[in-house]
């Protein structure tokens, strides 16, 4: 028996839900790579905790996607049986962990966006999304606090940590433009009050990041060329390797139950 990648129905709500689930899974997967290798045991705990939160969010969203699609699939089908071009996560979250500064700054840039995003989605006209958002917001508020405190410590710590934090900020900045893009299919959902218009979060996001960056004695990079493509399945090379690990067993033993 051979089971290849699945093809998912192309409807706006399904696409939207999957893209949010992919953000959470890919970032959660990245954070889980630290488990056992963090700079201090407390961070092994914290990064694992955040990974668990994000994987939990992904599971809730994939489960909802299965309900929306109605094709008899479960959460694992979406996570394990879609190939790289079907994943619709942001490029930011698939970027490698790099050093601790890069992981922290990636988390800051994402959490400063997703925390108000979930808060806004709590009033979605879709009750399932509103409920998922209400749970996720409590978690993302903590992630934001954790990432903010570490960004300040690193930026205002030693010359080396300052340099590394600034380097991380400069490296990741070109991936922040994509936070605010609206894929064609999302416009109708935004108009119907199902989804949130990310453009409305641009100013609060920037204010949060700027505040942390200032406390960290770092410099906010200039807005130059912004990378994009994740939402349309055009990813960096990194995602394919992440999925090779993540999907290995399901691909090697098609159809088995674990």
């Amino acid at each position: 028996m051979y089971t290849g990648s699945i093809t998912v129905a192309d409807t706006p709500l399904l696409r939207y839900v999957l893209s949010r689930a992919d953000d959470a899974l890919v970032l959660g997967h990245r954070l889980s790579e630290w488990c056992g290798h963090a700079p201090v045991l407390e961070e092994d705990m914290a990064l694992s905790n955040m990974a668990l939160d994000l994987i939990g969010q992904a599971r809730a969203l994939y489960t909802y996607a299965a309900e929306v699609e109605g094709a008899g699939r479960d959460e694992d089908a979406y996570a394990y049986l879609r190939d790289v071009t079907s994943y619709a996560n942001l490029l930011l979250v698939e970027q490698p962990n790099g050093d601790f500064a890069q992981t922290i700054v990636r988390q800051l840039l994402f959490s400063a966006f997703i925390d108000p995003y979930w808060r806004a989605l709590m009033t979605s006209s879709d009750p399932t999304l509103a409920a998922i958002a209400a749970k996720a917001e409590k978690e993302s508020a903590y992630h934001l606090r954790h990432a903010s405190e570490w960004t300040v410590r690193l930026g205002d710590g030693t010359p080396e940590s300052h340099e590394r934090a600034q380097q991380a900020l400069d490296t990741l900045w070109p991936f922040t433009g994509e936070l605010f893009t609206v894929p064609a299919g999302d416009r109708g959902l935004i108009d119907a009050g199902v989804a949130v218009d990310p453009e409305t979060l641009r100013a609060p996001w920037r204010a949060t990041v700027a505040r942390v960056v200032e406390r960290a004695t770092l410099t906010l990079p200039a807005d130059g060329w912004m990378q994009r493509g994740g939402r349309e399945g055009r990813h960096s090379e990194h995602l394919g390797h992440l999925l090779s690990d993540l999907q290995y067993l399901q691909r090697a033993f098609p159809g088995a139950t674990w």
Partner: protein
């Protein structure tokens, strides 16, 4: 996780101690009272505990590596979340064991330095590789199962902080053990390939797990001081037998075969008798020649070294904050 094999030989108690205090101490131990950090205790008791608790802590931390090896490859989101949570639990165990050791007058930093310098031991079981997903099941079922056999008596250890840590650790370990067994059960009831995977994992982990209980009592160099102090309550062989008796029927329920042709049930004693353990292998692994000794230490050293600048930054920032609040208080 924990290995009785790490139980200490007690160093010579040469320092003359207060005989009256020693007698009072022993009377309290005999009366099953808990000794707390600020209580008087013999120097050798303190040394024994520092070594045992810190080696136990190191085992938890090094033990994160073989299981962490499968976090990114876990076969379902449910399994992935459960495995992250489990490895995180091991980290938590390490942290509160280090904290228990710190009540005896050492620091976590000192203890970690000893581990990274290769001066401190950790459980030999973690020097074996996790080759397939079934190893994650086998570790939970067998390694955590063996650890529980060791740790349940430690819940009544005479030293209060250690005994309290063990009570919490045991609760989590028994959950891990059930989780591991459930992974094995799923594989054993799965496809032919999954069953082969489960059997292979059992073949590889069974004997090293029996070694976790330490050398046979006849060869044990342990002083009876640990027993007198009620740190250790059962002998290596007694705990090993208890583990075998509990585990053999579980393997049979899975439909798996234990890799021991000499295994047989003795009706007269109601115990499972098992074959000769290869103690040469055990000694080689303890001596640093297990399949993963070098990899495990390299991973811990790499995590520590590449985190140097992070810890330095946190300290530098804390110092600046202290200076700033002192300056603000001075200005006010």
């Amino acid at each position: 996780m924990y290995a009785q094999s790490l139980n200490q030989q007690v160093e010579g108690t040469t320092a003359p101690e207060d005989a009256e205090a020693a007698a009072r101490f022993q009377a309290r131990v005999d009366a099953e009272e808990r000794i707390e950090p600020n209580d008087w205790m013999p120097a050798a008791y303190r040394r024994t505990l520092v070594r045992q608790i810190s080696q136990h802590a190191h085992s938890e931390i090094v033990g994160m590596l073989p299981e962490g090896n499968w976090i990114t490859r876990a076969p379902s989101l449910r399994r992935k979340a459960a495995l992250i949570a489990k490895v995180q639990d091991e980290c938590g165990h390490g942290m509160y064991l280090y904290a228990a050791a710190e009540t005896l007058g050492v620091t976590r930093e000192q203890l970690v330095d000893e581990l990274l310098a290769g001066k401190a031991k950790y459980s030999s079981i973690f020097n074996y590789p996790t080759l397939t997903w079934a190893d994650i099941g086998a570790i939970g079922w067998l390694v955590d199962g063996a650890a529980i056999m060791n740790q349940i008596p430690l819940c009544r250890c005479s030293f209060g902080p250690y005994s309290r840590a063990m009570i919490r650790v045991c609760k989590e370990e028994s959950f891990h053990q059930r989780q591991g067994y459930e992974i094995m059960l799923t594989l054993a009831r799965g496809t032919a390939a999954q069953k082969v995977m489960a059997q292979d994992a059992l073949n590889r982990w069974w004997w090293p797990c029996l070694m976790m209980f330490g050398p046979p009592d006849a060869q044990s160099q342990h002083s009876d001081a640990s027993t007198r102090w009620k740190i250790k309550r059962f002998s290596n062989d007694a705990l090993r037998q208890k583990f075998v008796d509990a585990t053999v029927p579980q393997a049979h329920f899975l439909g798996l075969t234990l890799p021991d042709p000499a295994l047989r049930f003795n009706e007269a004693t109601s115990h499972w008798e098992f074959g000769e353990i290869d103690w040469t292998e055990f000694k080689q692994v303890l001596a640093g020649n297990g399949p993963c000794n070098r990899d495990r230490m390299a991973a811990r050293r790499a995590a520590h070294t590449s985190g140097d600048w992070v810890r330095e930054a946190a300290q530098a920032y804390a110092a600046k904050e202290r200076a700033r609040s002192a300056a603000a208080a001075g200005a006010a």
